[in-house]
């Protein structure tokens, strides 16, 4: 059978914004107009959208103080450091014991009921823990006084992916998530080393099975292909030689990292042009001497925080910034978030909100401080399950979030949120008067910073007014709450609200 060839990738730069990039001043500090639109843009990208008050405050602060507010993390110690897990290991051990006791074919089998019960118990524990983990992370994103810390954690979760599969204990994934949080604006080289020794990662990409006698190349390959360099910047020999170097990094019985010297291949390796008796730590060091490492992270950060399909020249400029700062994220993000290119019209609403951004942002918009199960179901139907990225590549993002099902789910989520919101304060704030036009202006200003057409505003006004529909009375004190909920839902269904 011939070697398989892949389908062609989609046309390049399909989603690059229109207009010209001003490369020379791209990373210079932004000194243009600063208003609610720029402040909300910062909140959508560096955080998840924020509340109307958050956006107002940032508007008053100006660009530098507002960015400083994100870069200097607020004290998040009041938030739970981890979810309450049931720990499914007793169930797992029970099942293992039963299966081990299962005799060879031909002899009487273990009672089916016992196995079935053990499997079901394990399944229930698994689901309960997944719900607890998702809720915990979502609630941190909603309520954290350090939104950029949570945003970077989400970025890293989709970058250095591991999933709640392959028997990885829930606690190990929580620990990995907290590792991202602790290094949210830290050093990428240090983080990559820590990720290489992270128990969830050791299992997810099989390095726990990588030993001298039978090298397993899975981690070594993905480390370069997806985490640090990208295809074309290493050879198959580099994959094999680095896999040899990572041999021996494994897991103890209680699922913690351990270096097992007897499993390590002590021979000489040649990796990316260097030769020596390398360990995994050496491999990480060598990778970060490659020019491609800075380029790779520059592209990923631009795509996540600025716009899709960034120009190679812009990538190179950010890559130089990353190298100049020796892979420390804090100065890099500080520069990017206050740069001209970040506030340019080309970057404005030029990304698709991920489902998590949509859900968390909507909660923040209405001042709801806790998620619920409806949100988890909606996230699944929108294609983003926290702790279960689809594969090691993470979430593709961009156009991949857009199809009939995912957009209907967004609209239905917004509708449900409006229907069940108990607190009426928000609606009262929108009711500036009994004038439908005034109310629709207030709504579109609060939800979309005025990024709405006159035609859509007119439709909202007509809806609020009950014009032309016999079933609806004109806006009044009696129906205002319900009518404003409906109009807020319609505003959230507008295409602009799907964009970050």
């Amino acid at each position: 059978m011939a070697a398989p060839t892949s389908a062609p990738p989609p046309p390049a730069a399909l989603y690059r914004p229109a207009g010209q990039l001003d490369l020379a001043t791209a990373l210079e500090p932004y000194a243009g107009p600063w208003g609610v639109r720029q402040a909300a843009h910062l909140w959508r990208r560096a955080g998840f959208g924020g509340s109307p008050d958050d956006v107002q405050r940032a508007t008053g602060l100006g660009v530098h103080a507002a960015v400083d507010g994100f870069i200097r993390f607020g004290d998040a110690s009041a938030l739970p450091a981890q979810p309450q897990l049931v720990d499914d290991r007793p169930n797992r051990d029970q099942l293992k014991m039963l299966l081990a006791a299962a005799p060879q074919a031909g002899a009487p089998p273990v009672p089916d009921e016992a196995l079935k019960t053990a499997r079901q118990a394990l399944g229930r524990a698994h689901v309960r823990d997944l719900v607890a983990m998702e809720t915990w992370f979502l609630d941190r994103m909603i309520a954290s006084p350090a939104p950029l810390q949570e945003k970077m954690t989400l970025f890293m979760h989709g970058h250095f992916t591991s999933a709640y599969q392959k028997g990885i204990p829930a606690q190990a994934l929580v620990n990995q998530n907290n590792l991202f949080r602790a290094n949210a604006l830290g050093n990428l080289r240090d983080l990559t080393l820590k990720v290489s020794q992270d128990p969830a990662m050791l299992r997810y990409l099989d390095n726990a099975q990588n030993n001298k006698a039978h090298p397993n190349e899975n981690y070594a390959r993905e480390l370069m292909e997806l985490f640090t360099l990208g295809i074309g910047n290493y050879t198959e020999t580099d994959v094999r030689e680095s896999a040899r170097s990572f041999t021996g990094w494994g897991l103890t019985r209680d699922f913690t990292f351990q270096n097992f010297p007897v499993r390590h291949d002590d021979g000489t390796k040649t990796f990316l042009g260097r030769t020596g008796n390398f360990t995994g730590a050496d491999i990480v060091q060598i990778i970060f001497t490659q020019p491609a490492a800075g380029t790779w992270f520059a592209k990923k950060l631009l795509e996540f925080f600025v716009y899709s399909d960034p120009e190679p020249a812009l990538i190179d400029t950010v890559a130089a910034l990353i190298r100049k700062n020796d892979f420390n994220l804090q100065p890099v993000m500080s520069t990017v978030l206050r740069s001209n290119v970040f506030y340019s019209e080309r970057a404005y609403r030029a990304l698709v909100k991920s489902p998590v951004e949509f859900v968390v942002g909507s909660y923040q918009l209405f001042g709801i401080r806790q998620s619920d199960l409806v949100a988890l179901g909606a996230l699944r139907r929108m294609g983003q399950i926290l702790f279960v990225p689809p594969n090691v590549k993470g979430w593709d993002g961009g156009a991949a979030w857009l199809n009939s099902q995912t957009l209907l789910t967004r609209e239905n989520f917004a509708s449900g949120l409006m229907a069940k919101m108990g607190d009426t304060t928000w609606m009262q704030r929108m009711m500036t008067s009994m004038d439908p036009a005034g109310v629709s202006r207030a709504l579109t200003a609060t939800i979309l910073q005025g990024d709405v057409s006159p035609a859509s505003t007119a439709h909202l006004t007509a809806y609020l007014d009950g014009t032309g529909v016999s079933a609806l009375a004109a806006l009044s004190g009696e129906n205002a709450d319900e009518r404003i909920r409906g109009a807020a839902y319609l505003t959230m269904a507008m295409p602009a609200y799907q964009l970050a």
Partner: protein, 408 residues
């Protein structure tokens, strides 16, 4: 003709949404419309996913092999019960209705289908079958890439439909929006009290390009929202006149195939439909579960083709099954089977030349207790693409995969 009702009024108007070099404007400019009657345009592909990994050995049973009964002491289907195809293999008795279809020449069975270095994870192997890329991580499914390449009318809301809660990866395309519909009832926007006004407002947003910002995604978001909303409103009306012939099993797959027949019979221009059933993940007490699922599949498929035939649609509908893997050859200690590799694939209906294809993998030459595949699954995809859908397959599933002679 009702059909025009769901085509967006003025195709040229679409190009006005967003800026001129927007996504859909380019897609429109590039897409030739394939409208020739009697061509591939009339043909439908239905994909059935046996979720969870169906045990191929107890589906197409190698009762002629003594090794089969050695590996399957409690689970082996007794030779006398097997619905015989020839002297060595036959179908599980739960597939009786399906065997009747086979005997009429409506079913092609490809034996031993898999891929090199099989992955035993449900997640990854499902992804491999759906993206047709064992060595890469692709963001589109193989059907999605077909849809992108087929020059389908961009304004048709129902070029492809997944009858499922969540859009399966196999249908994910770059340029064609595929609707995921679990059932007609409940599809679309949840009720808000003031539906009527809301709907008017929704439709107005689509032509809404007069916004104070530009975004490379704006036109696409607007168009897909419009598709979704119109589709949810239109589909129940468009299929309302369809009268099913006969009854389907009152099971999820029965209902899914009934809806598929309804869509096909209503002639909406739908090229591909996806349905699923499961779970076939039979680690314990396999027989009860697998027999129930296979019988459900057989009865539903039989009802589906009877319904299609009564409406004159059976010749234009090809159905293909897949499952992420077969199961371990040796049964485990709890009358079940663990994750394995190669398994049979069924092709049913329009265009198939009934019979057995491929080679049954040897039970005497296993790979770590698993079957060695004899036909690469991409050979079947390539055959379906070239012969049935009449598209070049190399850009979709890669080149170098021999076609099988199982389609006319």
């Amino acid at each position: 003709m009702k059909r025009t009702a769901f085509l967006l009024g003025a195709t040229s108007g679409l190009a006005l949404v967003g800026h001129a070099d927007g996504f859909f404007a380019r897609a429109l400019a590039q897409a030739p419309l394939d409208t020739a009657a009697g061509s591939a345009a009339d043909r439908v592909l239905v994909i059935v996913n046996f979720q969870g990994g169906n045990d191929g050995l107890n589906t197409v049973v190698p009762f002629g092999s003594p090794a089969y009964y050695k590996y399957r002491p409690s689970l082996g289907v007794p030779a006398n019960d097997v619905l015989r195809i020839n002297d060595s293999v036959g179908l599980n008795p739960a597939l009786k209705a399906f065997k009747d279809m086979y005997d009429k020449g409506q079913v092609a069975i490809v034996q031993g289908v898999g891929y090199p270095n099989p992955d035993y994870s449900h997640f990854r192997s499902t992804e491999i079958w759906q993206t047709a890329a064992p060595q890469q991580y692709l963001s589109t499914g193989w059907v999605g890439r077909y849809l992108d390449s087929a020059g389908l009318p961009p304004a048709n809301l129902f070029n492809a439909i997944a009858i499922a809660d969540v859009l399966p990866e196999v249908m994910v395309a770059n340029r064609v929006d595929v609707a995921a519909i679990a059932q007609l009832n409940g599809y679309g926007l949840t009720s808000d009290k003031n539906k009527t006004l809301g709907r008017d407002a929704f439709h107005s947003f689509v032509s809404d390009n007069d916004v104070p910002f530009r975004s490379p995604y704006l036109a696409q978001v607007a168009q897909i929202e419009d598709h979704a909303q119109r589709g949810a409103e239109e589909l129940p009306k468009l299929v309302a006149d369809y009268k099913p012939a006969g009854t389907y099993p009152a099971t999820p797959i029965g209902r899914s195939l009934a809806l598929a027949a309804q869509v096909i019979g209503s002639k909406l221009g739908t090229r591909v439909l996806y349905v699923q059933l499961g779970s076939f993940d039979t680690h314990t007490t396999q027989k009860g579960t697998q027999d129930r699922l296979l019988a459900d599949f057989a009865d539903s498929m039989s009802a589906f083709y009877a319904d299609l035939a009564a409406h004159g649609d059976d010749k234009r509908v090809l159905t293909m099954t897949f499952s992420e893997f077969g199961r371990r050859v040796a049964e485990n200690g709890s009358r079940g089977t663990d994750h394995g590799s190669a398994a049979p694939v069924f092709l049913i209906g329009g265009g198939t030349k009934g019979g057995l294809y491929g080679r049954q993998p040897s039970l005497d030459d296993l790979d770590n207790g698993n079957l060695r595949f004899t036909t690469d699954f991409r050979s079947i995809y390539a055959t379906v693409l070239e012969k049935w859908l009449q598209r070049p397959s190399s850009a979709i599933v890669g080149s170098g995969f021999d076609q099988l002679p199982l389609l006319t």
